[in-house]
């Protein structure tokens, strides 16, 4: 029997951290992820976890310590947001290329400026080319479930990559909602112990980590990294299947909501997807064939799978909670449009930037997008990139 509870997204991730009980957590607090190291420190103080907590003096140090700990052979986690992730910038690449399977809870928040603490995906989207796995969540339940699956994916021998478990800052991190927790007796055997193949503290296999690589070797290392990212797709699906056995909840690379026969589709990431589902149900009741593709896994990017899921749509709106100043749209728009082109899709596709710095998105906003899509499907459009709810 699942444990019915109510908690915020941050409480949910902290609870998952407690259940997984990794060996080491170096962390430096930053809004809105501050509660994560706080809750973990409480659990440790109360004797409910025996994780080694390392209070560091910056996020750069947090990630550096995490790399050291993980390379040494310890299961390692950290948490951050926004400017904290930005300060880790140099070392997140080191983590990924060193192939250390760190799990990092990212509570998505805007990068400055103007200075703002609210939700935006610009922090983790900025790190999309760093070679980390990235999984996003619609609500507290999903971010809890994703964290429980994180190490099974990251530590898989065909993957061995660090993973970001992302949720929307404040919108889910600070909202108390119902949740179903899984009992420790089920979580522990599911997550299992970490037995690294190679690690620094193994006296029988002395090794160096992070050594200089000459040009003759670098490209091969990067190609191996890219292959590991590709491998992760199947591993994520396999882990999800096993997770379903203990939770009853189904996960894939993305969620297709009423998409099978949809004429018009929205593609989005995170909490806005719940709002979109309410809009879609209302529109379906009026006979509008609306659907949603909710991206769960952004790295690896499930390009072919998404294109196949969208193949019958007449018009698609790709939603980015992030601006990339390319004058063409956001990162999800750029990547999915490229995939649709390669997949020879014929749908009209637009890219909408929304929700920057916590700007709210309402059911009515989503309904308006579907109305626009119906019009675009019929008449086409030259305007393929705009801001939702911009004040004029």
């Amino acid at each position: 029997m699942a444990i019915k509870e109510r908690m915020s997204g941050n409480e949910a991730v902290a609870y998952a951290m407690k259940q997984v009980n990794p060996d080491v957590m170096p962390a430096f607090p930053i809004t809105p992820s501050t509660e994560l190291p706080q809750f973990v420190a409480n659990y440790i103080a109360n004797g409910e976890m025996d994780t080694e907590f390392i209070p560091v003096e910056s996020e750069h140090s947090a990630m550096s310590a995490a790399i050291g700990a993980s390379a040494a052979g310890a299961r390692t986690m950290t948490a951050t947001s926004s400017a904290g992730l930005a300060l880790m910038w140099e070392v997140i690449y080191v983590a990924a290329s060193t192939r250390v399977p760190i799990a990092m809870a990212v509570v998505n928040r805007a990068l400055t400026g103007p200075l703002n603490i609210n939700c935006e995906h610009s922090d983790s989207m900025g790190a999309r080319d760093s070679g980390w796995l990235q999984i996003y969540a619609e609500n507290n339940q999903e971010v809890y479930d994703n964290f429980l699956q994180a190490y099974r994916i990251a530590e898989h021998k065909d993957v061995m990559l660090p993973i970001m478990i992302c949720q929307d800052g404040f919108i889910t991190s600070h909202a108390v909602e119902n949740i179903e927790l899984i009992e420790d007796e089920k979580v522990k055997p599911f997550v299992g112990e970490y037995n690294p193949e190679h690690y620094l503290l193994n006296p029988n296999e002395p090794m160096a980590v992070g050594a200089y690589a000459v040009s003759n070797y670098c490209m091969e290392a990067k190609k191996a990294h890219a292959e590991a990212m590709k491998n992760a797709k199947q591993v994520i699906l396999d882990v999800a299947k096993e997770f379903q056995e203990i939770s009853g909840r189904e996960y894939g690379l993305f969620e297709a909501y009423r998409l099978d026969d949809a004429d018009y589709a929205i593609v989005a990431i995170g909490s806005a997807c719940g709002t979109a589902k309410d809009a879609i149900d209302a529109l379906r009741a009026q006979g509008v064939k609306a659907g949603l593709l909710k991206v769960r896994v952004f790295r690896p990017f499930p390009a072919e799978e998404m294109v196949a899921a969208l193949k019958n749509c007449k018009a698609i709106a790709i939603m980015d909670r992030c601006e990339s100043y390319s004058s063409q749209g956001g990162p999800l728009g750029a990547e999915l449009m490229a995939a649709l082109y390669r997949g020879k899709a014929t749908a009209e596709v637009i890219n909408i930037v929304y929700g920057l710095s916590g700007r709210d998105i309402r059911v009515e906003d989503v309904e308006q997008i579907f109305e626009d899509l119906a019009d675009i499907a019929e008449h086409g459009t030259d305007d393929t990139y705009w801001y939702l709810g911009l004040r004029e």
């Binding site: 600070h174 909202a175 909602e177």
Partner: protein, 190 residues
């Protein structure tokens, strides 16, 4: 969908409107409801106007936007009536609950033409008679439970006692005052 009740809280930073919203979510959860309790975060500081929100439903809640057309509004600090459009979008079938010592007749002209029910409670008086300190969120929580009818008030008191016992495990002396404040607020709300 008809089972959904949406509540918007208006308070000032430091008065506990956010805590009250989270407590309401907690207590509604305890009787098997689907709940949401969340604040809107701005430049948080003592005394600045803040909003917090509750959705309480018999079915799963998926929407993640703020609440624009609430069934009920709670005003924790009556000075907000002069600067914040607290009745904006408020359904006239619902109502507004205000912490004030004024009468409904005196309050009505401050509500920009709102036609629905007005409920009042003097949370300061309730606090002084029970807690000896001003924590307006406690009486406001009890009052909105009664006004909105989201749960039976006896069940509410029972669940709150269990919850506060847990919350104040290290400060049991504050339990009695809080319980008295909740009970008195249920009587005093007009």
């Amino acid at each position: 969908m008809s089972s959904l009740t949406e509540i918007r809280w208006h308070g000032r930073g430091g008065q506990g409107a956010k805590t009250a919203a989270l407590l309401l979510a907690d207590v509604a959860f305890s009787i098997g409801k689907h709940v949401q309790g969340f604040p809107e975060y701005g430049p948080e500081r003592m005394g600045a106007p803040i909003t917090a929100f509750n959705r309480i439903s018999d079915t799963q809640i998926r929407v993640h936007s703020n609440i624009y057309d609430p069934d009920y509004v709670v005003v924790v600090d009556e000075t907000l009536l002069h600067g914040v459009d607290v009745t904006n979008g408020l359904k006239k079938e619902g109502g507004i609950l205000i912490n004030t010592s004024l009468s409904k007749e005196e309050i009505r002209p401050l509500l920009r033409g709102y036609e629905g029910e007005i409920y009042t409670i003097d949370a300061h008086d309730v606090c002084m008679r029970t807690l000896g300190k001003y924590f307006p969120n406690t009486p406001m929580l009890a009052a909105i439970v009664k006004v909105s009818g989201v749960m039976d008030t006896d069940v509410f008191l029972k669940e709150m006692e269990a919850s506060l016992k847990h919350k104040f495990a290290k400060k049991p002396e504050v339990l009695e005052g809080n319980m008295k404040a909740l009970a008195l607020a249920l009587e005093e709300v007009r």
